[in-house]
């Protein structure tokens, strides 16, 4: 008698916003809204992912992302394990592939990976059997940040489409900006990138947004999204702005430059006095702590979705020839 086996469902990952559909985004945000109610309960833990294992593999420093992923997994009753590059076998020269294979041997359901090199999450997805969530790979993608930003905007403005976001600062080195612009387009909103031509070069218009080098362009925006100068991603001797002083004078977000009714987001960590004036950061227009809270529920929703929803969230891109 022959045994009939159903084919294994495709492994699902969250590697890039480019892999998502609008329906995926809306489902994830709705799930997050549903989970938000659980945060107000006295007992905050849900049994949903009991017996599942989530591994966090972090090769770059992180406060918000790692903390919220850990907490998100714990709130869903998953077992968690976090590995930071410093103090691990990575210090002894182990490659990302070998570290991923080692962790995969424990049979984790999800591997959340952050790494300074573009393509790191793709590599982990390629060499292990786990669902992989990209928690930031170099300048490429940070899809969970974009989703929590959309969640924050939807909570604040009551809708997701037709919103205009001005993204101000070091867009060139920002995975947050790349993911956010793609996500905004996906849900029918738009973005304008604002900054000096060295950090907002014309080829970034390929992301499907407009570009301005004049901060006055933020006047039309519903949301001002402020980015940090990512000096750790600039090569030695590379010059993008002559000085932070001049940058701040031209592009710093001060109270005078924010229109009443605009909301201000920042993915953190903030450099007060450089890209954002402390008076703005501490004002009611700034939704920075809302973003952090959104990060928890959105990451809970992502883990829940990857491990319980059968429809593919994302398929890695394929190579096309000729």
């Amino acid at each position: 008698m022959s045994e009939v086996r159903a084919p294994a469902p495709p492994r699902r990952h969250l590697l890039s916003i480019a892999d998502l559909t609008r329906a995926d985004v809306e489902r994830l945000l709705d799930t997050a809204s549903g989970l938000a109610g659980s945060l107000d309960r006295e007992v905050k833990r849900l049994p949903t992912l009991r017996g599942r294992t989530v591994v966090h593999l972090f090769y770059e420093s992180s406060t918000r992302t790692l903390a919220s992923f850990e907490l998100a997994a714990k709130r869903l009753s998953a077992d968690t394990m976090s590995l930071r590059a410093a103090g691990s076998s990575v210090d002894k020269g182990e490659s990302l592939k070998d570290t991923a294979l080692t962790l995969a041997a424990y049979g984790p359901d999800v591997i959340v990976v952050r790494h300074p090199a573009i393509g790191a999450a793709q590599l982990v997805a390629h060499v292990t059997d786990a669902h992989v969530v990209n928690a930031g790979d170099g300048k490429h993608q940070h899809p969970t940040q974009a989703l929590l930003d959309l969640y924050t905007v939807r909570e604040a403005l009551g809708r997701l489409d037709g919103i205009h976001v001005a993204v101000v600062g070091d867009v060139l080195h920002s995975r947050v900006a790349r993911s956010l612009v793609q996500a905004l387009r996906l849900v029918g909103s738009s973005a304008t990138l604002v900054g000096p031509p060295t950090l907002v070069p014309p080829e970034l218009a390929a992301l499907g947004c407009s570009i301005s080098h004049d901060l006055r362009a933020i006047a039309d925006a519903d949301v001002v999204y402020v980015l940090r100068m990512q000096r750790e991603r600039m090569g030695p001797g590379e010059t993008f702005v002559p000085s932070l002083r001049e940058y701040s004078a031209l592009y710093g977000i001060t109270p005078e430059r924010v229109r009443p009714g605009q909301v201000v987001l920042h993915p953190g960590p903030m450099n007060r006095g450089v890209e954002i004036d402390p008076r703005v950061a501490d004002s009611s227009a700034a939704l920075v702590t809302d973003q952090v809270r959104a990060g928890l529920v959105v990451r809970m929703a992502i883990l829940y979705d990857l491990l319980t929803v059968p429809a593919p969230v994302s398929e890695p891109a394929r190579v096309e020839v000729a």
């Binding site: 090199a117 573009i118 393509g119 793709q122 590599l123 490429h140 790349r178 190579v319 020839v321």
Partner: protein, 423 residues
């Protein structure tokens, strides 16, 4: 000077559709080889295979000396034999760099023991490929160098290249140039365009190549000395070359199979086997390269076969080294993606893989001619096959074609009168 290990010359008979565009041959023939020489071309009746002059690859990295874990003279020339090549030119960017007669001499000796297919060596233009002091070109030429190149790196200083063009006149050997303006390409991992912008990859603009192409052609024109432009990738470079040729500048150029087949859209997969330098560029660039290959502005196909150890490519895209292998897949890749869809004639492909590169480096053109040394390839154009990691004779498997299905297969290679590959 081409060298390979000694062996007896073979006597054999091949039959098929004989195609030698240079000799105007397209007929069903029996090619009789006696003691390594084409002894007779007789009418034949079996045209299942195509018989053509074997291929010449002007751009191969054999990684020897220094990285024999990635390729050896034996493994690299075995791969060449399987790819239908009867001659290959090895690049000098090894460890140590081939920048002295001593290093070159020992390499030539090793090739006499190991190389399955006749192999020529290019020597460096500057010591250590540092772009500063010229190598002892006369002595290197006497030791067998077939040309000079700092491939992998540009000769960044115009004044150094000018002196090299003058001094190389003592040798009459061409300079093969890797055209890249390093201050424009620094930190780059992919072509500057929508794909690199979306992926956040450091960008290498077309101008990084074409600016240097223009400079190098201007210097070649000034010194009236032949230059060979390696692995062109950008439309602007092709246009600069066309203009220079019209002005009488003595220049030739090559293009790789991957630049002829792929565009930077392929990079979206972030597969490290799609990372090469120069990078895959746009559809428009690819079209310009194909047109230049058809017209003969670009007269050579070069694989730029660049083996890398598996652990070096099993890393995130951004951390991976540039380069892909190509010796064993060049013909099939181009037959499948250019000839089958009607973008290039088979005759032109065969010419650009054989006579074209041979002429640039002053080698005897492989040919179907009574009395000539037998340098022949037999091709099965109907064969379909899948590129797999375990199918390579090369020590490395960093091919951009892994998992792909190809049409057309090399089934037999005769190099310098000896059968070096038979399926």
């Amino acid at each position: 000077m081409l060298v390979c290990r000694n062996g007896r010359a073979d006597s054999l008979v091949l039959e098929g559709r004989a195609l030698d565009p240079g000799r105007g041959i397209d007929a069903c023939l029996r090619v009789v080889v006696e003691d390594g020489i084409v002894a007779a071309l007789e009418p034949g009746s079996d045209a299942r295979l195509v018989l053509a002059p074997a291929f010449v690859d002007p751009h191969v990295h054999l990684r020897t000396p220094g990285r024999e874990d990635e390729e050896t003279l034996l493994s690299g020339t075995s791969a060449a034999a399987a790819g239908g090549f009867c001659a290959i030119l090895a690049m000098p960017n090894t460890e140590p760099v081939v920048d002295s007669a001593a290093v070159l001499g020992s390499l030539v000796e090793r090739a006499r023991d190991e190389a399955l297919v006749p192999t020529g060596f290019l020597a460096a233009i500057t010591k250590g490929q540092r772009g500063e002091e010229l190598t002892e070109m006369a002595e290197l030429a006497a030791a067998g160098a077939l040309g000079f190149t700092d491939d992998g790196l540009p000769v960044a200083a115009a004044g150094v290249l000018r002196q090299a063009l003058r001094y190389a006149g003592l040798t009459r050997l061409p300079l093969a140039l890797h055209c890249e303006e390093p201050t424009l390409s620094r930190g780059g991992h992919a072509h500057e365009g929508p794909v690199s912008a979306e992926l956040g990859l450091g960008a290498i603009p077309s101008l990084a190549e074409s600016l240097m192409v223009r400079r190098d052609l201007a210097l070649a024109g000034l010194e009236e000395y032949p230059v060979h432009l390696m692995h062109l990738s950008a439309r602007e470079s092709v246009e600069a070359l066309e203009q220079a040729l019209a002005e009488g500048v003595p220049a030739t150029a090559e293009v790789t199979p991957h630049h002829l087949v792929l565009t930077d859209e392929a990079v979206r997969s972030l597969d490290p086997n799609l990372k090469m330098n120069p990078p895959l560029r746009s559809e428009d660039d690819r079209e310009a390269l194909r047109a230049a290959l058809r017209s003969g502005t670009i007269s050579c196909i070069a694989t730029d076969h660049a083996p890398h150890a598996r652990h070096e490519k099993d890393v995130p895209f951004e951390e991976a080294p540039f380069g892909v292998t190509g010796l064993e897949t060049a013909f099939a890749a181009l037959y499948t993606h250019l000839v089958v869809p009607g973008l290039l004639t088979l005759e032109t492909l065969l010419e650009r893989m054989s006579s074209g590169p041979a002429r640039v480096f002053g080698l005897d053109e492989p040919r179907l001619e009574v009395g000539a040394r037998a340098n022949l390839v037999a091709l099965d154009l109907e064969a379909e096959w899948t590129v797999t990691e375990d199918g390579f004779r090369s020590r490395s498997a960093n091919s951009w074609l892994l998992g792909r299905r190809l049409r057309g297969r090399v089934v037999r290679t005769i190099a310098d009168g000896r059968e070096v590959f038979a399926e």
